[in-house]
């Protein structure tokens, strides 16, 4: 029966890691805009250039 402690421990660990993922997602503003990403993902990206390294840096500064 002591396997139960282990199993519950593991299941709680998994559940808590999902909770932490949720907290992180919520904190990083992923619930700010719940529509645009659903459209953006359908765009064909082959023509799009990768955003500049500079832009990435700037986004980090401003966020």
């Amino acid at each position: 029966m002591s396997a139960l402690y282990l199993l519950i421990g593991i299941s709680l660990f998994v559940a808590v890691s999902f909770l932490i993922a949720f907290l992180w997602a919520s904190g990083s503003g992923q619930y700010e805009d719940d529509y645009t990403p659903s459209v953006r993902i359908l765009f064909d990206e082959k023509l799009q250039e990768k955003p500049d390294q500079q832009t990435k840096e700037l986004n980090q500064i401003t966020e």
């Binding site: 029966m1 139960l4 402690y5 519950i8 709680l12 559940a15 999902f18 909770l19 949720f22 907290l23 919520s26 904190g27 503003g29 619930y31 700010e32 805009d33 719940d34 529509y35 645009t36 459209v39 953006r40 359908l42 765009f43 064909d44 023509l47 799009q48 250039e49 955003p51 500049d52 500079q54 832009t55 700037l58 986004n59 500064i61 401003t62």
Partner: protein, 807 residues
């Protein structure tokens, strides 16, 4: 009235999808409604941005009315620019712009691919629900002005005004989402851990495990109790301090009792506690709260004149034009006001052809012609050419902006809690307190060891979960339903106010009439076809707005002649030689040589071959179905009309209103509403312009009507899309239906409470019963409401309108 025949050419513009009229442009075998649309198409085509047209069919924004080239000069001014940026250093800048025109996935695609149109743009990110785009660009390669102009060229004209500057970057309330997430997580896990309790616990697991599960449950309940449920404690405490039992008092009481009793049972080892019910209760309640808090992020309900006024104006200083932020404008400054620009302060006209549209400010339906040295009021929109004015009063102290100094604009908003729910919860709380007392007394005489158990059971079961969900879900559904049909509510309270309204006050210009579709009516001897052709040939060559309005009333394709000696005198009129006949049209002085009638009236006289034929007078058109709408509304409501315009249309409007008042100043309107309320009425105001702002604010329910809901509308409780005007009676009726549904749901949840209480008072409330009863009641109430709202909606909103734009 001249008959308006529409030529039947069913060709739609490749760019914006509008019907191509007479002015159609053909480019590479594609049709466009105007040159502007074609330019954008060509630009996108050259830059291999054709995907824009593939994602959605004809997604463009009509480019017939282009902004003037001088419009954004002010964006070079450092004082204006600096606060607009999110981030700025020597070469990089990031700015977030509000663009009301964003409407489809093609818009998102194009804006996020802006870097392909200009290499100065590094990155663009669209937030569709807020209609905002954040753009990172290199200042050396692209100035802010050039960026805004590029966006405007494409049709994505950003809205920049004093209020947008003031708005801080508001983040949506992530607190509620976090609370729901944590409550949901704990709810799921406690259900799992409580499962053995629901079955026969003794046979399944040993007491040792039972205790372990109990403590785990307790651990999971802690964040729910102290974090997720904290709002309810706070709100209940606030209510109690005001000596008032709001709905959160019994909820908070229930949550506290649930928690303490569970803690006691688990620690003492006497039972399993009600942790699953506790977490479930908080989870459901928070979901209800979230569902009701539906907001339209791109809409703004709290704007004042600052959002309408320009950020900067053009000051003429010793013959030189320069942009100056509006706040720095002083009395005595000379300003240049161009076509479609707004007069920012009360001023005197120095020179120029002033034709001013006051419809938004005073309610005058027809543009007014002003002469030099006339006073022009702030808020008017100049049409036609440019004019020069000299500021007479500070911006904040003009005829119009004075309205915002009134008492009503300093008033704190009413309490946010629904008055119906509050009224019910007052009796409800007393009821359960009385019942728990009776239970305590009863068990004191029967079996005093069970007092605590039964009393806490009563408080647990009575916790009005279903009751607390009834209003949020009904209102949440109603807000979404109204939004689908073009009425955007500020919050759920607006529904209750709508249901209560007993008198309706209407504004005239822009509310029951169309804002921009002036119609020229010819007064005089009917023009022959030949004369109409002559006239059309002349006005076609003029860019003056009045000429264009007249051109639209003349038969299509009648401009067959080429005028000679064409001479347009600004502010006066036009004369030309057509087919050998002299055609003159314009003001009384220009055509007749003498003043006629009252000053300020807009009449265009027509003289052909020396004969005065008559004049064109501008009229408004009423909104579609206006008479039908008013006929329905008059059955149930007392209707009032408050117009800033003169009373020449009084006779026409008398059948539709109980009371009519004309020549009303913005302050008069506000006072009229005050007066109605003093008489005990519950008036709703329906208006559109800045002059209605006071009345909208003063009324119990202010509905602003707007042709473009994302553009400016004065502070209000709801924004109605103008094409949905005919549904006004339906909305009002449905708000009452909503309230009836809430009341029925209250009745149902009382029934559940009665069943639960019968278990509780007899001491039979086990965790299992509680765990079944609580979600069952909540889910069935929510189910009932959803069903009821949808069935009622189907019968009331029979024909869904295909022209919805808020999908």
């Amino acid at each position: 009235m001249t008959a308006l025949t529409i030529e039947k050419i069913h060709v739609h513009c490749e760019h914006c999808g509008d019907l191509c009229g007479q002015e159609k442009v053909v480019w590479h075998s594609h049709y466009f409604c105007c040159q502007g649309c074609q330019t954008v198409y060509e630009l996108l085509h050259e830059n291999e941005l054709n995907t824009y047209y593939q994602l959605e069919s004809k997604p463009g924004i009509n480019r017939k009315h282009l902004p003037g080239s001088q419009k954004y000069t002010y964006l070079a001014h450092p004082d204006i620019m600096a606060p607009l940026f999110d981030f700025q250093d020597t070469h990089l800048a990031k700015i977030t712009l509000f663009i009301p025109a964003i409407h489809c996935s093609s818009c998102i695609w194009l804006l996020e691919n802006l870097h392909r149109l200009h290499e100065g743009i590094l990155h663009a990110h669209v937030d569709f629900p807020k209609k905002k785009v954040s753009i990172t660009f290199q200042m050396e390669q692209l100035t802010l002005r050039a960026l805004v102009e590029l966006l405007s060229t494409l049709g994505y004209e950003p809205e920049i005004n004093l209020a947008t500057k003031a708005i801080q970057k508001t983040r949506t309330d992530t607190g509620l989402i976090l609370k729901i997430g944590i409550a949901g997580f704990c709810f799921g896990n406690t259900m799992l851990l409580s499962l053995p309790e629901y079955l026969d616990a003794q046979a399944l697991i040993s007491p040792e495990y039972k205790q372990f599960f109990g403590y785990l449950n307790l651990l999971l309940a802690v964040p729910v109790f102290f974090y997720s449920a904290s709002d309810y404690f706070m709100s209940a405490w606030k209510g109690l301090r005001q000596r008032f039992f709001n709905i959160d008092v019994p909820i908070a009481l229930g949550i506290i009792v649930l928690f303490t009793r569970s803690v006691f049972e688990i620690i003492s080892g006497t039972g399993a506690g009600y942790i699953d019910s506790l977490t479930g209760l908080v989870f459901f309640l928070l979901i209800g709260k979230w569902y009701q808090s539906k907001t339209y992020q791109a809409l703004s309900y709290d704007r004042d004149y600052q959002s309408y006024f320009p950020v900067a104006v053009t000051v003429i200083d010793r013959g030189e034009e320069k942009s100056v932020p509006l706040q720095q404008v002083q009395v005595g400054d000379q300003l240049l006001v161009r076509h479609q620009e707004i007069i920012p302060a009360d001023a005197i006209l120095l020179e120029g052809d002033a034709l001013i549209d006051y419809s938004f400010v005073t309610g005058e339906s027809v543009p007014m012609k002003k002469d030099a040295n006339d006073l022009v009021y702030a808020g008017g929109r100049q049409i036609g050419s440019s004019m020069q004015i000299e500021v007479q009063k500070p911006v904040s102290n003009s005829y119009l902006t004075q309205l915002w100094n009134q008492e009503v604009f300093r008033k704190e908003p009413d309490s946010k809690v629904s008055s119906l729910v509050n009224a019910v919860s007052k009796y409800f709380t007393w009821g359960i307190l009385a019942l728990s007392m009776v239970t305590a007394v009863f068990w004191f005489f029967t079996d005093s060891t069970l007092i605590m158990k039964t009393v806490t059971s009563v408080l647990i079961v009575a916790c009005p979960c279903a009751l607390a969900l009834a209003a949020p879900f009904t209102f949440g559904h109603t807000i979404r339903l109204f939004g689908k049909f073009g009425l955007y509510l500020k919050n759920a309270e607006a529904i209750e106010k709508m249901a209560k309204a007993d008198q309706l006050v209407f504004d005239k210009t822009g509310t029951i009439t169309h804002t921009n579709t002036h119609y020229a009516v010819f007064v005089g001897k009917r023009l022959t076809d030949y004369e109409a052709c002559l006239l059309a040939s002349v006005v076609r060559n003029s860019l003056h707005p009045l000429s264009q309005i007249i051109y639209r009333t003349l038969p299509v394709n009648s401009a067959t002649y080429h005028p000679e000696n064409f001479n347009e005198v600004p502010g006066q009129g036009i004369c030309a030689l057509v087919d050998g006949k002299e055609v003159q049209l314009g003001s009384d002085v220009f055509v007749l040589g003498e003043k006629q009638g009252e000053p300020g009236s807009t009449k265009v006289y027509v003289k052909i071959d020396g004969m005065v034929k008559g004049y064109y007078s501008l009229e408004n058109t009423y909104r579609t179905h206006f008479p039908q709408v008013m006929r329905i509304l008059r059955k149930d409501y007392k209707t009032h009309l408050l117009s800033g315009d003169n009373d020449r249309e009084k006779e026409k409007l008398t059948p539709y209103f109980s009371e009519l008042h004309f020549d009303q100043s913005p302050v008069d309107k506000l006072q009229y509403l005050q007066h109605l309320e003093e008489q005990g009425a519950y008036p709703a105001m329906i208006g559109d312009g800045l002059n209605d702002a006071g009345a909208l604010k003063q009324s119990k329910l202010g509905i602003a009507i707007a042709d473009q809901v994302y553009h400016f509308s004065p502070a209000c409780d709801a924004i109605l899309h103008a094409i949905q005007f005919s549904r006004l009676p339906t909305y009002l009726q449905f708000s009452k239906t909503s309230m009836r549904i809430v009341k029925t749901a209250f009745g149902l949840s009382f029934l559940y409470n009665l069943v639960g209480l019968s278990f509780a008072v007899s001491g039979l409330l086990t965790p299992l019963v509680a765990a079944i009863l609580m979600p069952l009641s909540s889910v069935s109430i929510v189910g009932f409401i959803t069903l009821a709202v949808n069935i009622k909606a189907r019968s009331l909103f029979k024909k869904p309108d295909k022209n919805q734009f808020f999908s």
